[in-house]
């Protein structure tokens, strides 16, 4: 997994550097580069491994990989805004609205969202225009008001709700907030090869939920230096999380079970799916 992750990071960063060089040197362009820099690139690994599993070369799948990282970066920039989560640090660096200002952060996020669609819809992504249209449609659905934005809205509503969320409500929240983009990334391969999506969908749904449970675990057990962002925020805010509802031990067990399910779903691909299985295990071992 780590070798592949390094490979993906190198390709995605080369693609983003090349793409963003067209945007000049305004504060918004600088902020776009800054916000897409660094990170674990888990979504890009998912996208490009799912593509490789379907015989698609990195040279083509890198655009989908860069697109999902771009879209993820936009969501972080807006999520960190004072009116949203109000975070000063991200990946160990000042957030965009701290380094520049709020207006720049709004525009950086807006421009990054548009760029994600530009990347998937561009002819480089696939020779098949039907694939490009399908990737764009799927990305719009995953990112929008029935996907990621819905999850964020539910998250904000939860902060002022009279009673803490139930497990079902938190699961629905995470399916939007984290799950939708993870699922889109995992389906890049079958989408690009016009192949069956079933196994990777099962994998992605389990992985997305495990991912969010681990995020909640890190918020309780992690330290800010390792995580590169503030921790302990959910507990301080009295928010219901997988950990507060299940307890730490059961949350860990639940995440492990989900990762096992995710790995089993890929058995039909044989040893070719090893990196994706390692990635699932990495998701619940990470401390950031």
């Amino acid at each position: 997994m780590q070798d592949r992750q390094r490979q993906v990071i190198t390709s995605v960063e080369a693609c983003l550097t090349h793409t963003l060089s067209r945007f000049g040197d305004s504060p918004v362009a600088q902020g776009m580069r800054y916000a897409t820099n660094g990170g674990k690139r888990i979504r890009a690994v998912l996208a490009m491994e799912s593509a490789r599993l379907h015989g698609i070369d990195d040279a083509q799948s890198v655009f989908a990989g860069a697109a999902i990282e771009t879209l993820h970066a936009y969501s972080l920039v807006h999520d960190d805004l004072p009116c949203m989560d109000d975070d000063d640090m991200r990946r160990g660096q000042p957030t965009v609205h701290i380094k520049w200002d709020e207006a720049t952060a709004v525009l950086v996020g807006d421009a990054l969202q548009a760029l994600a669609f530009e990347l998937v819809a561009s002819p480089q992504t696939s020779d098949d225009p039907g694939v490009r249209a399908d990737l764009a449609l799927g990305l719009a659905q995953a990112a929008g008001g029935q996907g990621m934005v819905l999850g964020q809205a539910l998250d904000i509503a939860a902060e002022t709700a009279a009673s803490p969320l139930t497990l079902g409500q938190i699961t629905a929240l995470q399916a939007g907030k984290t799950g939708a983009l993870i699922t889109w990334a995992a389906l890049v391969g079958p989408r690009m090869a016009r192949a069956d999506q079933t196994a990777l969908k099962t994998y992605a749904d389990a992985l997305g939920l495990a991912f969010q449970i681990q995020d909640d675990i890190i918020d309780v057990t992690g330290d800010a230096a390792a995580a590169g962002k503030a921790v302990g925020k959910d507990e301080a805010a009295g928010k219901a999380t997988f950990v507060s509802l299940l307890g730490l031990g059961e949350a860990k067990r639940r995440a492990q079970t989900l990762v096992d399910q995710a790995c089993n779903a890929l058995s039909i691909y044989g040893s070719e799916a090893e990196t994706l299985q390692q990635l699932a295990r990495f998701v619940i071992s990470r401390q950031m």
Copy 2:
């Protein structure tokens, strides 16, 4: 033009009502409906008339029309935010962050941008997947950091610039801020019919510039009740505008010349282009 405008308004609103009914009833979904309600629908008229001129039925072009109105609505919601233009009123109603709050306004804008791409990339928009991918690619380029967002960034930079912008700089600013979406809308027809874009590109470039000059004229001569938003803001802020640089008389003459150029560019379409020519004339006669 008015009959056609009413027709377009009816189709686009039916399409948006139907599309947005899927988004539930959260504050974000309510805000999406609220923000896409009303307005002159000039961009949708452009898109659907350009399509009709190329033999494409309203029943298909309405999705592109709804998409450009959705994208325009997102840009207004974010533009009105306190950290951006800080406007309390829009189309005679409280802006989204006043009626709800800033976080909701950020998310409403984000979800509307995604929805615009969902609309153009969806199979209803065209039977030809190449057309859908091309519409999505063009929309992403028009909306993003080399199009509309670039124009907004230049606009913000102008507010703190040491010296007022020159005419060339304001023209570049508007080409992004207003021009890029107007051009995308005007090219919907040739894109959907895979026809030559030259005449409509000339028309749209002139129209976009005339549109912005008229906006500056309204900011000086208009009253807030007719405009449905605050006026006199540019002058109060000491911002350079087409009016401050050219004088009111010359600004009006310049807008008229641009509209004449726009109308002439469509002569190859004969009387079929009458509505688009009327629309160009409407743009410089409007008071809101």
